[in-house]
């Protein structure tokens, strides 16, 4: 399995997926940078990092997962690499499991990168405008816990998007689903039922109500893990014509 995983990671070398993994969190960092320059009063570090996590979980994460899964799947669909991979003496479930693990790890790295870039952007902006320098200290463990929950709650969305992207050779169905999911998630932000909507589960990690956090985490993480395993089994058993 380690060999299959290392192959999956090496495929990302100089790929668009790798570029996206840096570009998407960097955009939020850019927003944070200009937000501080426009700020009138200092804000605590916690607020800055929470704001960055909020934008990430609310919009950029669902969109990034949509694009990332489509790009990772197209790496195999476009050159029709499945035939070669599936003809090798390697258990097929391992090929799909490696891909799933790779995507989840990438999403986790992007989530972490989002916080790191935000920290760097805020620090850089502070140098230009020291009057609004963030107050207090960075609570790394708290930020890590929140972002860990966001990634865990995103598992169901990742499983759905990844299955869709790998199941269909065209990127259109996966893209349409991802854009649609994000759109409904954005327009129905305040809906109570949003907690049951996979694309809105990550942002619920920032909710005040404990039941929203718990429900979204249990559904997104628990069901997500089951969905990921089901997707791997389904994809490895079906024929690629």
């Amino acid at each position: 399995m380690i060999a299959v995983l290392s192959v999956e990671l090496r495929k990302l070398n100089r790929s668009l997926a790798a570029l996206l993994a840096v570009a998407a969190p960097a955009l939020i960092g850019l927003i944070a940078f200009f937000s501080l320059l426009r700020a009138q009063h200092p804000m605590p570090w916690e607020k800055w990092l929470q704001m960055s996590a909020g934008i990430w979980a609310f919009f950029m994460l669902p969109m990034s997962v949509t694009a990332l899964t489509a790009l990772v799947a197209q790496m195999e669909h476009a050159p029709r690499a499945w035939d070669h991979l599936r003809a090798l003496p390697v258990a097929r479930w391992k090929l799909y499991a490696a891909k799933a693990i790779c995507v989840v790890v990438l999403v986790a790295v992007m989530t972490l990168l989002n916080q790191l870039i935000t920290w760097a952007a805020i620090s850089a902006a502070t140098a230009l405008k020291p009057a609004v320098a963030p107050t207090g200290a960075v609570d790394a463990s708290k930020a890590l816990l929140l972002n860990g929950k966001i990634v865990a709650a995103a598992l169901l969305m990742i499983a759905i998007q990844l299955w869709m992207a790998l199941r269909f050779a065209s990127f259109v169905p996966a893209l349409a689903l991802g854009i649609g999911g994000t759109f409904f998630s954005v327009v129905a932000t305040s809906a109570k039922q949003g907690v049951f909507f996979p694309w809105q589960m990550p942002v619920n990690m920032l909710a005040r109500d404990a039941w929203r956090i718990e429900t979204a985490l249990a559904l997104g993480g628990g069901l997500g893990l089951i969905a990921l395993i089901a997707a791997i089994l389904h994809l490895s058993r079906r024929e690629v014509l």
């Binding site: 060999a3 299959v4 290392s6 192959v7 090496r10 495929k11 070398n13 100089r14 790929s15 790496m75 195999e76 050159p79 029709r80 690499a81 499945w82 035939d83 070669h84 991979l85 599936r86 003809a87 090798l88 003496p89 390697v90 258990a91 024929e239 690629v240 014509l241």
Partner: protein, 311 residues
């Protein structure tokens, strides 16, 4: 000679269309087996079933004695494949692409250098595959198929998209491959000339059915011998030969005359020459006609124009 690949009663349906029907083929060990058929005849579907990529609706495939349905991974260890779609990652170099497969096969880096040398790609191995020509991709695909020196190579249309020089190189390479490595080669093609120049054995598939199979030299030998006659006036010679109870056919190189059963070719040539000369026709040349794969096709029912044209 035992079988490297054996299929028995292989059938595969796609919806209402029967792509492969009751196909039983035997690829002997160390043979270069040319799997011939026009586009859509069922070649790729058969190869995909041999590789375990799609499941047959009926029948079985054995690769070096291993049942593909029961032990796909065991069977896959015996085979290196070059498929129609190369499946290379354009963002990676040739060497990196081979490295991925080598890692999955548990091979050392030295093996990558070896196969790159075999296909003469060492100099371009560190360029991105995205910038490769089709011929270079084809050679890299061949290198990938040879990683780990599998005893069987399955090559789907290996000369597709190659320029004339590339085709000639590939043919030379395939001809020598079995001798140098001892590998069995199963190659599919829709080109008669390609199979004729590379294969030791041939299997012809038409509408999903295997209509002919055997050793190429034996199949040619089994055909009734023919003479080719060049005369000063082919039209007159044609009617003269018809009058002498022969069945001549006008061809580009002259008249072809099939011999009667049991007739000695030398005696027949002498008799025909005499008959023509005595009737006032001038004979420029007469001799046995080299039989080709196309002649074998002509004997196969329902298999005429398209392949011959493709050749």
């Amino acid at each position: 000679m035992s079988a490297a690949i054996e299929t028995r009663g292989l059938s595969r349906r796609f919806g209402a269309r029967l792509a492969v029907e009751d196909l039983s083929m035997t690829v002997p060990e160390r043979a270069v087996y040319g799997f011939l058929g026009r586009n859509g005849a069922g070649k790729t579907t058969t190869l995909k079933m041999i590789l375990g990529l799609i499941r047959p609706n009926a029948g079985a495939v054995r690769v070096n004695g291993i049942d593909v349905a029961r032990d796909r991974i065991g069977a896959a260890r015996q085979v290196g494949a070059l498929l129609e779609a190369h499946g290379f990652y354009g963002n990676l170099t040739g060497r990196e692409n081979l490295g991925l497969t080598a890692t999955l096969l548990g091979l050392r880096k030295a093996e990558i250098d070896r196969v790159l040398e075999v296909v003469e790609m060492s100099a371009d191995a560190d360029r991105k595959v995205g910038g490769y020509s089709l011929g270079m991709r084809q050679r890299l695909g061949l290198a990938r198929a040879m990683l780990g020196a599998p005893p069987i190579l399955v090559l789907d249309e290996p000369t597709n998209g190659l320029d004339p020089d590339g085709i000639a190189d590939m043919r030379r390479f395939l001809r020598s491959l079995s001798e140098r490595t001892g590998a069995t080669v199963l190659l599919s093609s829709h080109l008669l000339g390609e199979i004729e120049q590379t294969a030791t054995h041939v299997g012809v598939v038409n509408d999903g059915r295997l209509v002919l199979e055997g050793e190429l030299a034996r199949l040619k030998a089994d055909l009734a011998p023919e003479l080719i006659v060049r005369t000063g006036d082919d039209t007159r010679a044609l009617s003269l030969l018809l009058a002498h109870g022969r069945s001549p056919v006008a061809a580009e190189a002259g008249l072809t005359v099939a011999l009667r059963p049991g007739e000695d070719p030398d005696q027949a040539a002498a008799a025909i020459t005499r008959q023509l000369v005595e009737s006032g026709a001038s004979v420029f040349a007469i001799g046995p006609r080299e039989r080709s794969l196309e002649d074998i096709y002509r004997r196969v029912a329902g298999f005429r124009s398209s392949l011959a044209e493709a050749a």
